[in-house]
Every structure is written in structure tokens, then in C-alpha cells.
Assembly symmetry: D2
Homo-oligomer: 344 residues x 4
Amino acid sequence: MLRFESDYLEGAHPSIIKKLAETNFEQTPGYGLDPHCEAAAALIKKECGAVNVNVHFLVGGTQANTTVIASILKAHQGVLSSDAGHIAAHESGAIEATGHKVLTLPHKNGKITGRQIFDYCTAHYADPSFEHTVQPGMVYISNSTEYGTVYTKAELTDISAACREHGLYLFMDGARLGYALSSPGSDLTLQDIAELCDVFYIGGTKVGALFGEAIVISNPAIHRDFRYHIKQHGGMLAKGRLLGIQFEALFETGLYWEISKRAVDLAQKLKKAFQEKGYGFYCDSPSNQQFVIMPDEHLKVLSEKYTFNVMEKAGDGTTVARFCTSWATSEEAVEALIHDIEKL
Amino acid sequence: MLRFESDYLEGAHPSIIKKLAETNFEQTPGYGLDPHCEAAAALIKKECGAVNVNVHFLVGGTQANTTVIASILKAHQGVLSSDAGHIAAHESGAIEATGHKVLTLPHKNGKITGRQIFDYCTAHYADPSFEHTVQPGMVYISNSTEYGTVYTKAELTDISAACREHGLYLFMDGARLGYALSSPGSDLTLQDIAELCDVFYIGGTKVGALFGEAIVISNPAIHRDFRYHIKQHGGMLAKGRLLGIQFEALFETGLYWEISKRAVDLAQKLKKAFQEKGYGFYCDSPSNQQFVIMPDEHLKVLSEKYTFNVMEKAGDGTTVARFCTSWATSEEAVEALIHDIEKL
Amino acid sequence: MLRFESDYLEGAHPSIIKKLAETNFEQTPGYGLDPHCEAAAALIKKECGAVNVNVHFLVGGTQANTTVIASILKAHQGVLSSDAGHIAAHESGAIEATGHKVLTLPHKNGKITGRQIFDYCTAHYADPSFEHTVQPGMVYISNSTEYGTVYTKAELTDISAACREHGLYLFMDGARLGYALSSPGSDLTLQDIAELCDVFYIGGTKVGALFGEAIVISNPAIHRDFRYHIKQHGGMLAKGRLLGIQFEALFETGLYWEISKRAVDLAQKLKKAFQEKGYGFYCDSPSNQQFVIMPDEHLKVLSEKYTFNVMEKAGDGTTVARFCTSWATSEEAVEALIHDIEKL
Amino acid sequence: MLRFESDYLEGAHPSIIKKLAETNFEQTPGYGLDPHCEAAAALIKKECGAVNVNVHFLVGGTQANTTVIASILKAHQGVLSSDAGHIAAHESGAIEATGHKVLTLPHKNGKITGRQIFDYCTAHYADPSFEHTVQPGMVYISNSTEYGTVYTKAELTDISAACREHGLYLFMDGARLGYALSSPGSDLTLQDIAELCDVFYIGGTKVGALFGEAIVISNPAIHRDFRYHIKQHGGMLAKGRLLGIQFEALFETGLYWEISKRAVDLAQKLKKAFQEKGYGFYCDSPSNQQFVIMPDEHLKVLSEKYTFNVMEKAGDGTTVARFCTSWATSEEAVEALIHDIEKL
């Protein structure tokens, strides 16, 4: 069985395993205060072209989202998110468990716009009973989105402007940031993101690491006391260096970008094969996730040799299915799948 | 510099690194539903001599404590703990962040007793305003404790009886359970613990793993829906197999017990050296942490070659210092330290 | 200016003021443990035809909703509600502040159905990732609803059955329960409600009292420990008797039903006047709130002499406006308004 | 039976009942935005000698404490309190339910000092693992305290200075503020308190009102958005004017001070009687609560005609008992009690 259902099916890029083995008997202080975390943070700062960002390493996405959001919002505030946003739909109420409502905006292909944010806030304050509803305190977006789409620099600039106009912090979930920025649809750089967002993260779990997300904070108002929040949310790994070591491996020679690009290229190859076969798509994704609409009987045939995600029925005996590539996807697996698509 | 300040200074036992490398390119489902987690759970069930326990794997101690406690308590309940308990003192308010008060009992050498629990509950319900105070809902103990002491079977039986008498769940934090059960002071088995506690965990982070704690639930009332709580608290690792693989390595050939015993033996050797030098101890610890009371000038001399934890002043120019051994401590390092103690 | 914008514009029915004055110098124990609360609870039990319900008195609606919901849900659970439900929209995130997500179902004229609840739960457990989403733990409905509509016995029976099928508790917000049950559209009795719901409340604030809601708990599993929750949520009034005294006045001679019926009759008179003038309605309300669709210029004329609630634009230069009657609305005020409607 | 067990045994001062009756049929907007709340706020501002304070009215003490504390603290912060503080001991975990730890300091006669606060914070930041513990974010004191003692201007100035030194907000629970400031032991004015604290409240429930606490915010950083928090915690009374009307009655002619002084005078008379009989006291209270240490058999005799609070055993067959006077205590009741004390 060749698996395409997600981008976290394997362990880590071999250079990470190698580095973990090499450093295994070093003795270091705990809780992220070791030389590897320091070195990895320096590498990421450099990538951001900004000496003024601060970098922290957390184990996973839910934890990163919860810690950042809970550290920013005041008790009466909520977080604006696309209704397809991971925090709105797929984290077992983790945000609400910290006391905050997720305020949803209808997404279009996974994305929301500066205009939606601006209008929501304007309507909030125009309501004479505004104090009886939750105050929007920040915005959460993901890039790439849950549908594989990516934000352009113009779109992100609009969102950032709407946030600043209404006093909202802007947070980008970058669980798949490598795949987003390596995509032909993106004109953003890490430096742009550091300038336009208050905080974001660079995902490792889905992009070559065993686990780990690098949180980059560019607004100093958020940074003060952030380590208390990491500890409170169970994110302060005793052997914090495990995160530092992995991000060192990913960024000391550009490995992160190299493997991201490779995965996106493979996904685009796959996309082309689906297109040539005449299938439609849930939306046009330029990154490593493809949401293709296929006849149920074709999916049934493919499911004998491949795994993928069944998303939802799409009418007329068709279904939306998600196929992902990742840093670990082999050329051969993609070729095999394309070959079988052509035969359908 | 030779480090004795904690038991989480290095990476993992080499057999774990090896197993991670070997399994690296396997493709498995995520979130703890893979064959490695299944195999590791089966090994642990067997160790517990009980087919009826359920096993889940979390990344770290704060997360394990928070997830278990928040999954058990109702909104008006608190958790009873020694005032030295990790949840009372050293988790940045993680328990309170889930809405629950930590109700403290004065510890003796890190331990609390069944009698203290019984008396607390009796006094609670005897107060005519009991509904104006927090209802005790469960008990948290750690074994070995924050002071290296261990519970005997008689003590744990008493605690368990007090809990059942008053309808409290009993939870044992076993971050250092390997060191506790391998200690000459312990007459407990995993099976005893599974019978006397409702839930406990077997710590990996401090006992040979890169990270990871295996939660063992013997009370089915707690088990139902537990995975929702894991997800909500950010504990559902995308590549959950990383935890399964590590606990397989620790339990398939008895490695966990072997390395625990070795660390305890080294610590007892160290203890003897301190004793022979005439130093006192904060308390008599039979496990891998030693809390010795030394003249400040002696500590200063040792600090040139060794790291350790300075706990608190102990009067007359002396200080309590913590020295830890671990699965990774070398015979040579202990010999060097003993040699330098003798010279003081 | 004659005010029709809400049903909480005045103080209390004069017999309540009188009783407060008469009892003013009695000395009673605090916190709801006094003879007036006891007597009022007995009256309400009798109305419910059920000796097995338990009654508690809280100050207001947000507090009643929050206390009940937080006392029932476990940490991983959410509450299902109409998307127009007060808890979903108008309580400043009070439910989320206790850690729980409000799971919304699209309302029809303010109501939801047993079928919607059943389907939501079925879909939840059919999702292979169900543990990554919030588990539905209870259902919240309001009667009358935020749009003045009322549940029939058949509808409530369906909802109750769906809840029991899926293990959900059923909670009815009865802030306007007097107006609902006195409405020509209702075939429900308090006894039916006590049998079909696990918990509900009888609103006083909007139905004759200065303030106060009587919570009726018919499921004993919810009742145990409920007073802890009242205290925790700031609902345990030191002079709890103030609530008991008011509900005694409302229920010792049937005053509650008498004033409710009177208010509903006045509202229906008003409704008839709007209908005869040819206006449409947002929905057909048989209770004390009328949501009429009127040309903006007509509303402007009325606003010179009357207050009402502007809800939303309804197209073609019209607007939805809410007019409420209450226990305190005078015959004369309604006649004056009808007279002015006819002149429009 | 004559009752001395608390200061909330009766309804309200008759002038309040009268004013409620007189205003009963006024139609006013809800939620604290009515002319009575406005007028009462203006009266209190004037009493504070400060145009820059803001005033809000809440129903009760637990609600006031919870709302203020939850509105101020960030997620990683706790509130420093005396270990006898109401929030530490008697609110069913209300503060923890909002996610925050109550950090306790040992009290002396109910009070804490600026030095204790200063030292706590200094120790917190001196701990190399300070981020693993809860950050102190504010200080809670009560005046008069739970033991009837009162803070002097010098003591409050010290506390205020310690708070400002360490960036903590200072909050005074004034549930019994009338009795505190009317006591011979107090040299504080409302104006002093407004200057030295960031926020405090003037208790109505125990000082002449049916219910109600007037929150006075002198630090504008706390005031912004405060009404959202009131709503979220169920404190926004639909008929908010009920609070405004009561505080108008209490402050338009100095009634609050008059009835407070009278209650304190009666309590001091009682104290003198206890002293002359030779009884000791738990502490020297200059306000309306007296904590006297009496032989158990004497208490038994008194309990036939009087109610009082049994606090704790005091050794040698004696017990600490609390006797309270209030705005409603009659001269005759006190004379009767004194007479019976003399006979013991």
C-alpha cells in the first residue's frame, strides 16, 4: 500500500536522525535553554531577515495554536478564524478550553480576506449591545490553508492592515509553511510574514522533522512572558534541545526549502495527471495537498493500492479526495499513482 | 564539566535511537493509532499483569498531569496534592488554567498519607459551609517523590483506601517510576500500582527515552473519552508512533528496569560517599536523587567540576544540594565525583 | 415616550414589592437556606406535579445558563444550541469562558428539532476523527425562543428522545417560560417540561420579579453538588431569601400565570393590529414578542412616541422591529400604539 | 432567637425599600445604562474626591471578586492574597475556575504587608526556574479583613508601593468597607483608597442594601472593556437600575456612613462587655465583627438565646466565636446580649 493520506506518515529526514544520534550523549540544560535551540533560533532569525524576532520551539500544532492564542487574548476576547480553520474545527475545543470563543468567518477555498475582518469588526462596534458579545482580539490564518491554497503578499497585506486598523493581533499557523512558500502560487518570503504578522510558526512536523514547530514572534508585546505560557500548556520539553537539533538540521543548509520544493513539485505533477484525466478539483491548490473530485468507482479502484483522504460527497456519484505529498514521498510512488490514474 | 543537576541531560538510550532510525521510513497512521503504539501498549499491559488496563502515550510530564487531572475532575472539584507536588509548585499554574484548584497537604519528605487525605475530606464535609469551598475530587501523588523518597505498598494501600472511602480518584505521577520501583526502599510492583491507583504513568523522559510518558488507566470510568482530552491538551502527537517505538524499546527486553536499577545503584554509591564524609541529608532517599546538606565552601569547590541543583539554605553556612544520576550517568563520572568528595 | 423595546423595563409586580417590605426585618440564614426559599421551592415543585424535582434560585439568565451548563459538561464536551440561542450569541462568551464550545445548529424561527440533534450526533460519531472534535454533551433550547416562538409537546418530545438516544442532557432556558406556556401556541405544562427535560428554569426577571430565575432539576445526576456550582459562579446570593420571597409571591396565588397571560393577550392584540395594517412578520409569534416587518418611514413615525428594537434590514426599505409586552404593559399604552399604527 | 452570626440577616434599610417602591413603574433601559446608575455613580465619584474614577455596580461579592480578577490577570498570572482571604478559602474555587491560581501569603490578624508582597516578588524573579511557577500579577486585600481588622493609611501606602515596584495591580475587597472606614482604627478615606488602589469596591450587601457592590476603578487601563467582563460573569443585571437606586439611597444623604458608624459603635460596646468579663480575643478588631475566645459552656448558655459563628477550637475548653453587628442590629438586642454576658 502506498500512502498519500497525509504529510506525516514517516519519521524524519535522515539528516535529522543522524544529527540526533551524533548529539545523543551531549549533556545540556533543559527546557529550551541549550546551545542547539540557541543556534536554531539564530538560523531562523537570519531567514526572517530580522534581528528583532524571537523564536521558541514547541512540539506540535495544537499546542502551538493554543499557547499562542491563550497568551495573547484577554478574557473577554475571541479569535477570528476561517470556518475551515484548524482551531475552529479540529482541535477538540482546545481554544475554548482556554476560555475563548473561535469567531468564524466563511472561507473561500480555505482563505479569508482583510475585507471580511474589517467588516466583522465594524459591525461588532456598531452593535449597541456590543459588550454582550465576544470582542475580536486577534486573527488566525493558516498558510497553506486546510485546502492547500496559499496567501499572496497582497492578500496578507490587506489582512494585516485590517488587523492594525482594528487593534487585532495577526497569527499565522504555518504547519505547512514550507509547502506554502515553495509553491508557484506564493510571492511571500519569511521576511514579509515577519513584518505583516505579529506571530507565526514554521512547521516541522509535516516538513521533515520528527515533530516540532518554530514559533516566530515579531511583536515584542507578545513576547514578554511567553515562556510562562509554554510551560503552562505543557509545551516546555524537558529535553528541549531535541527541537533545536531538528531545526538546526532543517535550516543550516537550506534543507527545509529543498524538501518543501520537492514535495510541491511532486504534487503539481500529480495535479497535472488528474487534470489531464479530466477530473475537477474542490479548489485550485498550488501546494502539496490536492483535493480532486473523482467518480466513486475510480476511487474504489485506487484504494486497492493507495491510501488517501475521503473528504465529502460531491454529487453525481463523485467524491472529494485529498492526496498529499511530503518531504518523504518518493518519485516512484508518484509515478506509480500517475500510471494508475491514467489507466482509470 | 560533569553534570548531575538532573536526570534529563542527554538524549536517549542508544537502542531507542537505533529503533527510531530503523523504523524511520515506515508509513503509519497518525495520532497513536499505529502498530508501534499498539505493541508498546501490549507490553505495558503485560507488565501490569492486568489485561484490563488501557495505555496511552503522551509527550511530557506537565501534559500528562494536566490531561489526566482535567479529564477526571468536575468543575467544582480540586485535586489534593502534597505541597511539594510538582502540580502545586512547578507547572506555571497548568492545573488552575484548566479551572481547578490544587488543594495542598503538608508533605513529610515529599510524601503524604492516607490519614491526611481521610482527615481532609472528613473536615471538608463537617464544615457547614462546605459548598463554599472546593470539593476534593482526586488525589495526586508522585513516586518517587520530588525528594526522591518512595511509597511502600502499605502506604499506598492506606492512600488508596482513604480515596475509595471518600470517592476520590487516585493518580500517581510516575515521571521517575523506574527509579522508584528499582529502589531498595520499594516493595511495590506495577501490578500493585495498577490495582491501587485509578491511573498512573510510567515516565520515559527521565528513564531512557528522548521523551514520553505512558499513561496507564485501570479505572474504566476514566478511560472512556480519554482521547478527546489528549487532543484538547495538545498531546496527540501527529507521529504518535515515536512514542510507541520508544516504549517498545524500553519494555521489549526489560531495558527500562535494567537502566533504572543501574542509575539507582550509582546514586546509592554516591549517597554512601556523602555519608562516609559525614554529611547529613534533607531526607533519606533510596532512589536516584540525593539531597545532601553540605558546607557552602565544599559546594563551591565541587561546582568547579560538577553541576548540581542548589535547593535551599540549611543554616550554619550549609546548603541542600541535589545530585541526580540517570540511565546515562557513567560509572566514571560517579567515581570522579566520589573521589572529589573524599578530598573535600 | 412609551416603551416596548423589552420586557424588563420596570421594577416588579406590586405584590412583590409589598412582600419584600413586609418581610424586611425578618432575620434569616443566608445563601438560599431560609424558609422563604424553602416555601417557594415547595410551590414550584407542586406546579411541576413532581415531588422529585429540586429547585434553586439564581439572580439572572446569563448566570443560570452558565451555572447549569458548566455543572453538566465534562471538559471535552460542548453544548448544542440554535445559532440564534442566547448562549451562542449574546453572553459575551460566558460559556466558552467556562471552557466549553457552543455547537450551533441552524434555527428555523428560533427553534431546532430532534432530527437536527440526532443527525448531528450521528455524524459526529461517524467521523473517523471524531475525537479531534468537540463531543456534544447536552442540548440548550429556549422556550419561548429568541423569536417569540414556542415549542409544542410533540416537538419537545422529539428533542427529548433524540437527547436520550445519544446520551445528551436537555436544558430549557425559560427566561420567558411564563409567556411561552400562556401562549395560544403552546400545549405544554410545567409537568411535561419536568418530565422531558433534565433541567430548566422559570424566569422571573422578565415575568414580574425584580430579578430571579428558578432552576428546576429533574435529573438527580445533575442535582448532586449543584450548590457548589452556584457558589463558584457567583450566584449564591447572601440574602438568598430575596429570591424565595419573590417566587413565593409569584406562585402562591397563581400570579405568575395571570400576568403572563395578560401580557400575551396584549401582544396578540398588537399583532392583530399589525396584520390588519398589512405588515408581514419575521415569523409567526404566539407569545409576548412580535417581530414585524415595516417600512422604514413608518418606523420613523412611531419612534417619535414609542421605543422598540430595530433588529435588521429586511429589503425594499423595510426593517424587522421587535415590540414586546410584559406583565407591566398597560392596556392604555397598547391602545395608543394600535391607534397610531392604524393612522400610518 | 436574636441573631449575631452575620451582617446580612435582614433585608435593606427602609429608605431603600421606599425608593424601590417609589421608582417601581419607571421605564428605564437595562444593563446599568439608566439614570439611577448614572446618578449613583456620580455620588460615589464625588465621595472619592476624584473625577477620574469609574463606577460599576455588581450584585454580590464573589461575582465582584471574580469579575475584577479575571478582567485584570493574564493567563499566566495569579493573584496574591492573605491565606485567610475570601478568594483563597471561601468561594468554591471561583478564581481558579477562571484559570488563575490564588497565591497565598500568611496573614497576621487577617492582614498582609507591603514587605511580604515585595519579598514574594523578589523571590519569584530570583528563582532561575521562575517561568515554571505562576507570575504574581495583582494583589487582593480585604478591608475590613475576614477578622474584622482594618488597614491604616501607612499600611496601605506600603502595600501600594510594593505593588507599583513590582508591576502588580492592587485590588481592595470592600464588602465591609463602610464598617472599616467608620472604625476607630481607620485613618483612611475613600479618596486615599482611590489613589492607592487600582480598583476597589464599596459593599452594599452587608451595609444597608438588599444586595449590591459598587466597583470603583481608578486605573484607566483596567476600565477599558470592563463591561464585557461584567456580562461574561453573569453580573450585568437586566434591571441594572435596582443597583443604582440602592446606591443613590445610600449615598445621597450620607446614609452609608451613618449606618456603618452605628453598627461599629454597637460592636465596640459588645467588645467592651466581653473585655470586662475577662475574655480574650482572636485579634483586636476595631470594626463590626468581634472574634472572642470563650469557654465552651458559656457559649452553650448564650446559644439558647443568640446565634453566632463558631470559628475554631482555641484550647483548654474554649472556642473562638464570631459576633457581628450590622446596620440592622438593634440597640435592644445588643443590650440583651451584654446583659446575658455579664450574667455568665
